[in-house]
């Protein structure tokens, strides 16, 4: 893709991403927050494609926008919270400090990015980010962490069942 075209794809996705992420932050109803988050995950998958991370972009849609968000929606429906339980926070001071701290952190991060200089992206070959290339890294260099991940997921499944079950 040419440079101009990439910029034209980047900006709409970036604006949509920040907008939907802000929607998660301000939504009063958790269902609206979850829907905003799904939109944010899709925008992020688009940006991953722009970074030539094809496999991770598809995993993002499959795992995040698919599995994790369905889990969230199931729990939201299961709890079926009434309006008074969704009520706004009583601690206004906490919110003010939170917003202030957030802006401070953002300033530090953006200035750090700015100081590190504006490096361009080097060209990559067609294999970069494909399933085959990522699998080669994953199964050669990171085989032990990969196997540990399977144990982690097993422990998480058993833990979730034990914690959520009424009587074990």
């Amino acid at each position: 893709m040419s440079d101009k075209a990439e910029i034209f794809v980047f900006w709409p996705l970036a604006v949509l991403l920040v907008g939907t992420a802000g929607g998660v932050l301000v939504a009063r109803n958790p269902v609206y927050a979850a829907m905003s988050l799904v939109g944010a995950f899709f925008c992020m998958a688009g940006l991953y494609l722009l970074l030539t991370a094809h496999l991770v972009a598809f995993l993002q849609i499959l795992v995040y926008a698919g599995a994790i968000m369905v889990l969230f929606l199931f729990v939201i429906m299961l709890l079926s919270l009434s309006d008074e339980e969704l009520g706004v926070s009583r601690m206004k001071a906490m919110q003010a400090f939170g917003a202030l701290g957030g802006i401070g952190l953002l300033a530090v991060l953006v200035s750090a990015v700015h100081v590190s200089g504006d490096r361009g992206m080097p060209p990559v070959d067609a294999r970069f980010g494909t399933v085959k290339a990522v699998a080669e890294v994953l199964f050669r260099q990171y085989l032990l962490p990969f196997e540990a991940t399977s144990v982690l997921l097993l422990v998480a499944i058993v833990g979730a069942v034990i914690v959520a079950k009424q009587r074990v």
Binding site: L17, V75, L153
Partner: protein, 101 residues
């Protein structure tokens, strides 16, 4: 070509939105969603650096982050259900069972 600093700044904005949500929102479900947002921002940074090097290891780390986020969501939501069952609320300010006084 979109410069690397654009991606990194966007990830910083996302991380800050997630952090502000964790600090200011009191609904445990929305707090979890904001944590997912922060994990995603970290993932985004990994991928931006992977593209910058260029080195595929960042993609492998992003894969592990996605797996850990899935495990976290499963266990966390189970805890939310258990807390709601025993206390009838998901407001994190009202869950103070082991607080002194």
């Amino acid at each position: 070509m979109v410069p690397a600093s654009y991606y990194l700044s966007l990830a910083a904005v996302l991380f800050t939105i997630g952090l502000a949500g964790v600090v200011t929102r009191r609904n445990a479900l929305i707090v979890f969603m904001c944590i997912e947002l922060m994990l995603n921002a970290a993932n985004f940074t990994f991928l931006a650096f992977a593209r910058m090097k260029p080195d595929m290891s960042g993609h492998a780390i992003a894969f592990f982050v996605i797996a850990v986020a899935a495990a976290e969501a499963a266990v966390g939501l189970a805890i939310v259900i258990a807390v709601f069952r025993s206390r009838g609320t998901v407001n994190v300010d009202e869950v103070t069972a082991i607080k002194d006084s």
